[in-house]
Symmetry: C2
Subunit: 323 residues, 2 copies
């Protein structure tokens, strides 16, 4: 129901994901009248509506949300996940509320204390996961260590990587770099033989696949990811403007349509939409509030892939086998 565009984008995006994955079943959680009106007559196969008339405001405070017992679509969707009726849930709504309610309604995977938001970076090939992206803005070194374990378990579970490389995001590669929090986290990671710690990496190495898992506190990760998104957006605008500047260039842009669209697609953060809330018992995917149809579809597909790959069970097993 939520996000910047609400049902108008989220619903067709979800139904698109449903059509492209014949093993997917969708529970559309929200105001049933509004959903039915948007769909028109009938319901697609493998889709059902779960009535939950309330919508949480985007600026609702996380603590207020916990006291609120209204039938918000967010709470209802998490309830389905908590009871095992669904394997994963997707939300484009209030991130703080999603985090707070997930912690209230879902158990943590044994071995983890606090969940973290984690996203795949848009690499041309290979996989790099960045966490935390904002679930924890004041982090202890011990939390950064825990994020490394979570990310490592995720990369093992989703991609079968034996020993995922772990790096700490810092302001330089040299040992003397980092602030006091990052330096103490480095000591913890160096002392943990179950993890393949490869040292510090800098912001300009995030897209170079130097590690499968890149760890930082939620403030740093949030700003790094959004800085990348903002740059991609600005450069996409520059590319479009440059090829529209003169009649001759507009003609060239028509001829170069294939190449230009390829580049603009590569620059579109919406294509890589969908952050996992890692550490909880269940697949929870947060879609960017501003995501449009393609982006929200990607978030639903991402959640489906994690459920199909038994991500949570594998994360639990991998941790057990480590201990």
């Amino acid at each position: 129901m939520s996000g910047d565009h609400g049902l108008r984008v989220n619903l067709p995006a979800s139904l698109h994901a449903l059509r492209t994955n014949t093993s997917l079943r969708l529970h559309l959680v929200g105001d049933s009248q509004a959903i039915q009106a948007e769909i028109g007559t009938g319901l697609p196969q493998r889709a059902s509506i779960v009535h939950a008339p309330g919508i949480l405001a985007m600026d609702a405070s996380p603590t207020g949300v916990l006291r609120n017992t209204d039938q918000s679509s967010l709470r209802a969707a998490l309830e389905l996940l908590a009871t095992g009726d669904v394997g994963g849930m997707i939300s484009a709504g209030n991130t703080g509320a999603l985090m707070a309610l997930s912690r209230q309604r879902l158990s943590m995977i044994a071995g983890f204390r606090r969940p973290a938001f984690c996203s795949a970076l848009p690499l041309p090939s290979g996989h790099s996961y960045l966490l935390d992206l904002g679930a924890n803005v004041d982090c202890s070194p011990e939390q950064l260590h825990e994020f490394a374990s979570m990310g490592s378990a995720l990369a093992k579970a989703l991609h079968g990587i034996h020993r995922p490389r772990i790096a700490l995001l810092s302001n330089g590669r040299e040992m003397a770099k980092g602030n006091s929090q990052i330096q103490r986290a480095r000591d913890l990671l160096e002392g943990d033989e179950s993890l393949e710690f490869v040292g510090f990496i800098e912001g300009d190495e995030l897209l170079r696949h130097r590690a499968e898992v890149i760890v930082c506190d939620g403030m740093l990760g949030n700003v790094a990811l959004k800085s990348m998104e903002g740059t991609a957006h600005a450069l996409g605008d520059l590319l479009k403007a440059s090829f529209q500047a003169t009649p001759w260039r507009r003609f060239l842009s028509m001829l170069s349509r294939g190449a230009l669209q390829e580049v603009l697609r590569g620059m579109d953060p919406g294509r890589h939409n969908g952050a996992f809330l890692l550490g909880v018992q269940g697949v929870v995917v947060k879609s960017h509030g501003a995501a449009r149809e393609q982006g929200f579809t990607a978030a639903v597909q991402q959640a489906a892939r994690c459920v199909e790959n038994s991500m949570v069970a594998l994360m639990t097993q991998r941790l057990d086998s480590k201990q």
Copy 2:
């Protein structure tokens, strides 16, 4: 003498800046034999060599540097600045050493306690300065407040902006966002009537000119700026690869040369090279270690512009008039 490419890049870049600015005088500080050999016969007009045979290692520790009394080119250049023989200095060397030696050799502008690295963001129009970029990786809220004053004084001095807008970099615009350090800095900035504080901005707004001065701790600023650089680099590669993928596209890339070069220039972080060390009595510009000729030239030109505009005197005056 230093940086990834040393004299081979820094010297021709400096001489290029000298040719383009007829009021500039250059002191080339380093090993005189090596410099003379690189130049060939004679010395260009308005250039002189200051012999300083030592070079600081890129990984020399800042504290070791302070004990070291060798004639490093960095120390000798800062000495020229401290005695007033030059108005500004440029280095591509060890950032920590530059920071430590600057603090040892140069006085602070009255009203400031610790210097910060500050860089202009690559906007299509207007000016936004981001600080700190790594001089202070563990910051108190009071330091963030001080960075805001420094940046405000800089924007007033360089661009004559009456009340530069100040924003705090955070993980969201809403009041409840930020970590404890950022939230306390917000309280300080809201209470300072001499500053035009406009609230939080997010990483994806850095290039949107929502403020003339964007304040954060050195870890956040370093990672944000480098994340932007890395993204621009990756997208530049994508653009080049896409227009080389087939013979037809290679043909189109020849026809579209003007537009493509315009975009690639816009994506090149080297063009915006040169961070100020703000707060010290003198113009100190740090060039990116990896900067090539165009980038190092930009850093020299940036330093020259600040000296010509009496940046330090104006920053001092503006502070006086504020009090």
